[in-house]
């Protein structure tokens, strides 16, 4: 049972990986939102409401069948995930599953000082957020991609490839601020909720099935699959705006994140590490422009923050 759960989550993560590969942003949540919208349309267009079978994807039919077959053997203590109003504990449990699987693909960099350093910076930036109560965890993973991940409940991972390109603590704070914003705003979770609620509304999940975690997770998996092709830019822009503010609140130079975006914007479009980014994501220039328009004059007279390059932890290689 545990195995299945993980497999399903891996499906979810594949798109998470794809999306965050595109940038320092974690986008699978927004992508899922598109999937949910698509589903709503399906239902609205008639087929779903009157004939649920038609609205089902093969995966869902399969899931429903499996759930039906295993209905009698559902472990009684396996409680339903409360999609309507998940507790913080449930949020963390979901994020743990996702993050643990990413770690299965790319383990933590074996450098305790590095991990501790990133946790200090991240913790301090997260303190400035509305969810400082979460047990925030930050990690640098062994991957050369330029990439960062966020998962519900306070999990943030940044790739070694991205970390190595940074030159000061304010830039790190900016990136972590962006990821923290995704979690604070529950960007991924909201989309997963929608997907679940839509499924329930469309009669795809009966009461009995909705108590089955496996089915819930199967729905996530298929949703992520579909959504790997499209994404909502707005949550991305929002995370940029909030990331800058969180870093500034923490006393850092507010322009760490823009600096990173500036640099990504100069990356050759033919470089594999950004090919997907430039194809399916708002271009960094676009993100900078949006950020500038949103900031307006609000940063003009900001007290100069710190960049702290001197204490920035540099990797040996």
């Amino acid at each position: 049972m545990h195995n299945i759960k993980h497999k399903l989550l891996i499906g979810l993560m594949v798109s998470a990986g794809l999306f965050s590969m595109q940038s320092i942003a974690f986008d699978f949540g927004k992508a899922l939102e598109d999937a949910a919208k698509q589903k709503i349309d399906e239902v609205k267009n008639g087929s779903g409401a009157t004939n649920p079978e038609q609205a089902k994807t093969p995966v869902e039919i399969d899931a429903a069948k499996n759930a039906a077959e295993s209905g009698a053997t559902v472990v009684p203590d396996e409680k339903a995930f409360n999609w309507k109003n998940p507790s913080t504990a449930e949020e963390i449990a979901l994020g743990r599953e996702i993050t643990g699987s990413i770690l299965g693909a790319a383990p933590l960099v074996k450098d305790v000082k590095l991990q501790q350093y990133v946790n200090k910076v991240g913790r301090w930036v997260a303190n400035q957020s509305e969810r400082s109560d979460l047990p925030w965890k930050f990690g640098v993973i062994e991957s050369s991609d330029l990439n960062a991940f966020a998962a519900p409940g306070g999990y943030v991972l940044i790739t070694k490839g991205l970390y190595q390109q940074l030159s000061n603590e304010a830039q790190l704070a900016g990136i972590l601020g962006h990821e923290i914003a995704h979690i604070v705003q529950k960007h991924q979770l909201k989309v997963l909720q929608k997907q679940q609620l839509v499924n329930i509304g469309a009669g795809l999940i009966t009461d009995k099935f909705s108590k089955d975690n496996k089915l819930a997770k199967k729905a996530i998996g298929s949703g992520a699959e579909i959504s790997a092709r499209s994404l909502d830019k707005e949550a991305e822009y929002e995370a940029d705006r909030m990331g800058v503010v969180l870093a500034a609140r923490a006393g850092y130079d507010a322009f760490g994140l823009p600096e990173v975006l500036q640099a990504i914007g100069q990356t050759n479009k033919t470089d594999n590490s950004v090919a997907l980014l430039f194809k399916t994501h708002p271009h960094p220039d676009e993100r900078l422009t949006k950020l500038g328009n949103s900031a307006g004059s609000k940063l003009d007279n900001l007290k100069a923050g710190k960049t702290l390059e001197d204490r920035f932890y540099r990797l040996k290689n």
Partner: protein, 175 residues
Amino acid sequence: MKIDLNKKNYLRALLLISLASPIFGIGGEAGTALKADTLRLTPFADAKSVGSLSKNDAVDILAKKGAWLQVTTQKSAGKKSTGWVRLLSVKRGGVSSSNQVKGLADVASGRAGTGKVVSTTGIRGLSAEELQTAQFNETEMKKLESYTLTPKDGQKFAAAGGLITSPLTYFKGAQ
């Protein structure tokens, strides 16, 4: 420029670091206006206007101060003018940051084809396939969890670095 994600400006970055002002190190770097904006005499929103930038204007970035960059315009006609403009109105790099230009630069610096982080570090990327076959790793997760800090730990760290919080409300989205 200190951050060098694409590794293509490595030599330039080195040069710049050596010439750099301690704050930023971008003196002399090329930039491009992301939108129309006013050039001002001093880095303040109410400072006297000394010119304007149109979208895609090429500029030379001379200095950074807080939210502002000092730039010189490179308009081919008309005279050059120098002034301060909001940092977020300008992106680094020339107007035609096209592949061709970059490609030529790569060839010139002998870095063509080797710019990728993957090939230089020997560390694998994180592909969709790898994620597909990935298994939940409890050991790594436990390790990650072991690094969890309290809000107080964060405060101590901030104090050690002289970081002082600054109240700032989130921005609303703009069109």
